[in-house]
């Protein structure tokens, strides 16, 4: 197994990391870069807990080879809060009680961001589609949908 230097934009900053390009982006983030906000659920693209933004669209970081991100932009859950304050999506999740055990939450929030970056006025159906790749085993989907619609409202005002 040989390593190489991978250069990419991580949460708005240029980073360089010497790592195995065939490992997953998820493990690069968690093990090499210490960003443990991105969760590993199933590890095979079924649950969405590891969702991050790659060039502004949602991807399962467990399915992306680290080598693929060279020269591209990755945004993780760590980029959202500023000075310890939650951003508008995180705030909406708290307000609407959209967090139970919390394990799926980082992935849900990133899928919400992916949606709101492309569509600032989503319909309930569009919200459901946007989080259709994210499983919540506490089954609190209703509150999550409400939180994302509420975040969209905040965006407008």
């Amino acid at each position: 197994m040989n390593k190489e230097t991978i250069r990419f934009m991580l949460n708005g900053e240029q980073v360089e990391i010497y790592a195995n390009p065939a490992k997953s982006l998820l493990h690069l983030l968690r093990d090499d870069l210490g960003l443990t906000g991105t969760k590993e659920g199933c590890g095979q693209g079924e649950c969405g807990a590891c969702t991050v933004l790659l060039d502004d669209v949602a991807v399962n970081s467990c399915l992306v080879p680290a080598g693929k991100i060279s020269g591209h932009s990755v945004i993780t859950i760590e980029a959202l809060s500023k000075d310890g304050k939650p951003d508008f999506v995180q705030e909406a999740f708290v307000e609407k009680g959209a967090v139970q055990c919390g394990f799926c939450t980082p992935g849900m929030v990133m899928s919400a961001h992916a949606l709101l970056r492309q569509n600032t006025d989503p319909s309930p159906e569009e919200v459901k589609t946007a989080i259709s790749g994210n499983l919540c085993r506490c089954t609190g989907y209703k509150q999550i949908e409400e939180a994302i619609l509420s975040a969209a409202e905040k965006l407008k005002s």
Binding site: G45, G48, P65, S132, G133
Partner: protein, 288 residues
Amino acid sequence: MMSYLRAESIEHALTLLKESASGAKIIAGGTDLFLQELPGHLIDIGFIGELKEIKEEKGQLHIGAALTHTLAANSKLIKDKATALAEASSLVGSPQIRNIGTLGGNVINAAPAADAAVALVALGAQAVLIDLEENIRCIPVDQLYSGFNCTSVDCSSEMLLKFIINTCEPGEGTAFVRFAARRALALPMANAAARIKITDGVISEAYLVAAPVKPAPTRLTETETLLHGEPAEESTWLKAELSAAGEVAVRGSLLRCSADYRKHLVGLMAGRALRTAASRAVERKEVR
């Protein structure tokens, strides 16, 4: 030693393939490949612009093999001229998978009921491949399959470039449908796609494909023959449902469902795909 190389163009990808020791393989989205044991040397073609193009030329759509499902599902050209493919791509996996998984990968990974592959076969798509000597070969998508979960494409010496589809003309309609335990992230118990042409209320051409029936997306030729010359009306669709369920020999599987249920679903999906394709064929005629 392993390596991960990013190709910037088709020529670059071929050069990298030639230069690398044997065992190098092409990777595009990688969503399927990454779950298997990775070969030692990977050449990533997922960011090559030319392989993501969608062009209409002389009554044909040329669709790049590295186009993601999200881009295929949202393309106006594909939605208008090859509706079944846009529909199938919009139903693959989940948004996260669709953002990175590609049409070419959907075919080359050769899962028996890969949604986009089923639509491509019903649309009569040709796959265009290039080898290390830059020879181009063109082959119908269903003839690429060589067995369960495998195709005749050797990803260490050949690369899938694009698909070519005859565009949908007035009087023609296409559709894709699937049935699964959940609306996302679930293997289809059965899926089907249809391409149908209606002339003066009568079916003059019909392509009907269902999966998982065999290792490759399977044309239901008996039902296609039955449809030919029949009026485009409900009694015909009911006959087609029975015929489609009757002509497939399927096995039950713990992953999907029992054989009897799958047979029933193949009929049901065939009927749904035909009805939708037919109503689109009629609409298309009225618009023009």
